[in-house]
């Protein structure tokens, strides 16, 4: 059925195209970078590869956030923490790969440990010299944190802004913890000066292109997985929990487990994004835990259109491209632009770019869709074309609260 849906028409087609584009980009951009001479007009310079590779990681992070925010109504202001933890796991692997090429030439201890007088490797660094182990940790550490955190929070029915605030407290606590040099993660400087990944020089153009391709393919896979999750009965349940949590409970569903699963999956996706990000930017440090970063992710998703799969990706790409441009050309105005974006999107574009596009198209299609719906109504396996993107919020604030008036926080 999944394959059936995948090639079916309708909103799902959008997913197919997204995946197709991502896979195509994964092939074409590295080719244009490596095989085309720099003089050629089609040449893609290395720094563009590195830059867009980074954006794709951000897009994956935004998608992860959207799974919980857009589809389940959990506004996590701490997703940067999962991203950073994934990044740290990868960073630890890369640190161990430096081996004796560090400035002190110590074959076991990373440089920062040498000058902080560590005598031996802390236990939690064991195993990170193996890629498989680091890879496992990329998934396990953010997943486990999200699982434990979510298990407590959802079971106690911490919801809405309270949840947002404690996720923020979580990432803030981690920020402070990772800043501590005694933690053994390099303190403020974090992990840096990477040399190799899987035996390839991280700075080589080919490695960069490979990482870029890996990011694009991972994002494509993530789009597919998210799409599969959202389209499943579980996905319906997820949205049901978003819209009427108590109803799902009285139907016998464990809303906390529903949320916990999405939260954990989302954290793992964020962790993977972080792991792909680190070798491309060459550094991971506690700054990634900064609550402000996590909030910025929210605006990527909001700009593109939350509750959609393509929206957060487009949002992340556009906002970050804007950031690169502003910080280069009009440095003083970047925060004005970003701040203005936050305000404008929430006030004027609650459904994001995708939502706006759809409602614009929607009017034109409504008539046609209605007639098709009648024909198709009898066959349960064929999705009738939706009048709107089915998963997007129907109107702003639909799942935030029912009344458009101030409510005392519960």
């Amino acid at each position: 059925m999944i394959t059936g849906r995948f090639f079916a028409a309708g909103a799902d087609r959008r997913i197919a195209i997204t995946i197709f584009i991502l896979l195509a980009v994964a092939v074409i951009v590295p080719l244009l970078n490596l095989a085309v001479s720099p003089a050629n007009a089609f040449y893609v310079p290395s720094y563009i590869v590195a830059l867009t590779g980074k954006y794709l990681c951000y897009a994956l992070l935004a998608l992860a956030l959207d799974l919980v925010w857009g589809y389940c109504g959990i506004l996590s202001l701490g997703h940067g923490a999962f991203f950073a933890l994934g990044g740290y796991a990868m960073g630890m692997y890369l640190m161990r790969q430096i081996g004796s090429r560090g400035v002190y030439g110590n074959p076991i201890l990373p440089d920062f440990m040498v000058f902080l007088n560590y005598k031996e490797l802390p236990w939690f660094w064991y195993g990170f010299d193996h890629f498989w182990f680091a890879g496992l940790m990329v998934l396990a550490v953010p997943g486990l944190l999200a699982f434990v955190f979510g298990w407590f929070a959802f079971r106690s029915r911490v919801t809405g802004v309270y949840l947002s605030i404690i996720t923020q407290a979580m990432t803030y606590a981690l920020l402070l913890a990772f800043f501590r040099n005694d933690m053994g993660f390099g303190g403020n400087n974090g992990l840096t000066d990477f040399k190799d990944i899987l035996g390839f020089n991280v700075q080589a153009d080919a490695t960069r292109s490979a990482l870029f391709a890996a990011s694009a393919v991972t994002l494509a896979v993530a789009v597919f997985v998210t799409w599969a999750i959202v389209g499943s009965k579980y996905g319906k349940l997820l949205m049901a929990v978003r819209d009427a949590e108590s109803r799902t409970r009285f139907l016998g569903w464990r809303a906390e487990n529903v949320k916990l699963f999405a939260f954990t999956v989302s954290a793992v996706m964020a962790g993977i994004a972080g792991a792909l990000y680190v070798p491309q930017v060459g550094i991971i440090n506690p700054g990634e835990f900064e609550p402000a970063n996590s909030i910025e992710v929210v605006v990527w998703a909001a700009v593109g259109g939350r509750g959609t799969i393509v929206g957060p990706i487009i949002g992340a790409l556009l906002v970050n491209a804007g950031k690169s441009w502003f910080t280069g050309v009009l440095p003083e105005f970047w925060l004005f632009a970003l701040g203005g974006l936050f305000v404008a999107v929430t006030l004027l574009l609650p459904k994001g770019i995708i939502g706006m596009w759809d409602s614009w198209r929607g009017n034109a299609r409504a008539l046609r869709a209605a007639s098709i719906a009648e024909e198709a109504g009898a066959d349960p396996d064929v999705q009738p074309p939706a009048k709107i993107v089915r998963s997007a919020a129907r109107k702003p604030g639909d799942w935030s609260a029912s009344s458009p008036e101030p409510q005392p926080a519960e």
Binding site: I314, W334, L335
Partner: protein
Amino acid sequence: MRGNFSTITRMFSASVVAAGLLMSAPAKAADDTIKVGILHSLSGTMAISETTLKDAMLMLIDEQNAKGGLLGKKLEAVVVDPASNWPLFAEKARELISKDKVAAVFGCWTSVSRKSVLPVFSELDNILFYPVQYEGEESERNVFYTGAAPNQQAIPAVDYLMSEDGGSVKRWVLEGTDYVYPRTTNKILEAYLKAKGVAAEDIMVNYTPFGFSDWQTEVSAIKKFGSAGKKTAVVSTVNGDANVPFYKELGNQGIKAEDIPVMAFSVGEEELAGLDTAPLVGHLAAWNYFESVDTPENKKFIADWHKFIKNDKRTTNDPMEAHYIGFNMWVKAVEKAGTTDPDKVIDAMIGVSVPNLTGGYSTMMPNHHITKPVLIGEIQADGQFETVSRTPGLVMGDEWSDYLPDSKDLISDWRAPLSCGNFNVATGKCGGKGTN
């Protein structure tokens, strides 16, 4: 349903193309200028310190152009904003070098920002001038360190405090923000103090987080530590924002400089500008430059600065002097090499000597650090420092501290044939780096 396809294609291509275009649009490579990159945060937490350096660089470049530019071409500053975001530093460095084709970059403040851009500079083979005092333990071929290494600041400062003039301090509080610079500096100082016969119980080390603002407990701990019947001093590596509340609390709890002086390595004129310094008179700082230094070069520099920034109240500080030295060295090296090609300039840099602002010459050493005088100043009521001590000669920056067990055998010499940033004199081998 074609609408869907076009939607998606359009949106995607829009964003990808936008990303691409935005990045590559203003690459108008004018051949008649030499571009100089300025990589200082203009927003975010570090803007408070780094914005001034951006302005200082713009002034220096203006002045050079007024003198006729360099190699017959005008200099053009390319300013970017890494927004106090460390990965963004790397991205912007890459942009400056790859897209804007700058001949050299002046920038960074925090160690982590420098660490973040290092791989970019070595990969793309460009030059970074780093103007801030730092923890040492590094020497890169592509980086010139014009700020102080620990031995150009911390050790002379402690020497002064131990001297008769400094009050013959016997008991030490090492108070710092929890990051690499204070950690390393304090490690070096601890080893140094112990080598000088200070007992372990006479040293107290404490760390606080960035931006720490409630100093009550720490200051009272200092007070307590200081009441053991021996002359006590605080060596502060407290960073930026946390200093103002720290000094306010010191003043309010009545800790006077005569009783427990505080020697700071990160407090300059800029930080004092946010403070009422009357209760702080006599607290100390160690730098290689003070605005109050009375030399004709400095007078001119300050006058130019005030004119450039159009504000007579703006102070000058040590990192600005470091940029002044670094920029002039680069200019001289480019003239010497006759090209801005980084490889040639890097080689030409070593041995270049330019006047500093404190009445002498600073020379670029083979380890890419420079020689500087070390000044100890006391805070005055007008927010300036008054020099109370000055090293007799110039101190050469020592990148690998002799007081850390793992770096005492390392040296750096970027001249051929050694060309190594971490040569181990014990094993006779280059530590695996920099032989390129």
